[in-house]
């Protein structure tokens, strides 16, 4: 069974102004990148295509939602909120590899076919990100199994 699930109810947790903030930040980041490119050239502007401006808003919202959920259950929720945001950041680190794949494929293909560059780069981004996520997940479960084997092994030897 796939570990990936859709949870459409999560959209109800968001407030209307949170979506507005994301829209405004996304628009502002795109305008900012355009301004930098026209002022300092394509190379300097290009690095801002990977600006984590949106990530700041997303991580803060994830933390806020987690704290709100825990407070409704009568708990503090601050630590849980930090952990939820940290998980999102760990995913973003793997997503950055996908973004790197996007940039490589796009730069190699765009001068041959623009449409193929967009499709190919998007596919490469998705494939690399998802593959990296699965690889990390499998490595962590192997590590966890080895640790529990070691603990149970030492417990058996101590009991002898």
């Amino acid at each position: 069974m796939s570990p990936i699930r859709f949870s459409p109810l999560s959209l109800k947790e968001g407030r209307w102004y949170e979506y507005l903030v994301r829209f405004a930040l996304g628009g502002a980041a795109t305008v900012f990148t355009g301004l930098i490119s026209s002022r300092y050239g394509a190379s300097v502007g290009g690095i801002f295509l990977a600006l984590p401006a949106i990530f700041c808003a997303s991580a803060t919202l994830i933390e806020k939602h987690e704290i709100r959920r825990k407070r409704e259950a009568g708990l503090d929720g601050r630590r849980r909120g930090q952990k939820a945001a940290a998980l999102d950041a760990a995913g973003a680190a793997l997503g950055a590899l996908g973004m790197l794949a996007f940039a490589i494929v796009f730069s190699l293909m765009v001068e041959r076919s623009i449409a193929a560059a967009f499709v190919g780069a998007s596919f490469a981004c998705l494939a690399v990100s998802v593959a990296a996520w699965y690889l990390r997940r499998n490595m962590r479960s192997i590590q966890r199994r080895q640790t529990s084997d070691r603990i149970s092994g030492s417990a058996v030897s101590r009991s002898r």
């Binding site: 290009g46 949106i54 700041c56 994830i62 940290a86 950041a89 950055a96 996007f102 996520w133």
Partner: protein, 115 residues
Amino acid sequence: MTEYVVRFVVGGVVVSAFAMLADVLRPKSFAGLFGAAPSVALATLGIAVYRHGAGYAAQQTWAMMAGAIALAVYSVVVCQLLIRARLRAAPATLLSLVVWLIVAVGLLTLTGGQT
């Protein structure tokens, strides 16, 4: 002026779409992949190709590689600040922007991309 209005609207729509996709996906670490989706890049490159041509967009994506590597470093730093230093999400993500900028500009300078 019109170009910047178009940029704002297109960027806002693409970024919101990826953010909403991340909202409905579970587990959280998988949803995080979409936090680093090239949403600003998709919006900007489309306009760059239309306005300046394929060569200009290719040049931007060469520099974007430095930004993407910096984003990976940035995400790891944010993760550490949240878990080890126990900072809240807003200061952790904002302080780490300095790391992103240093790594991205450093890589661009090393590869001679600033010229």
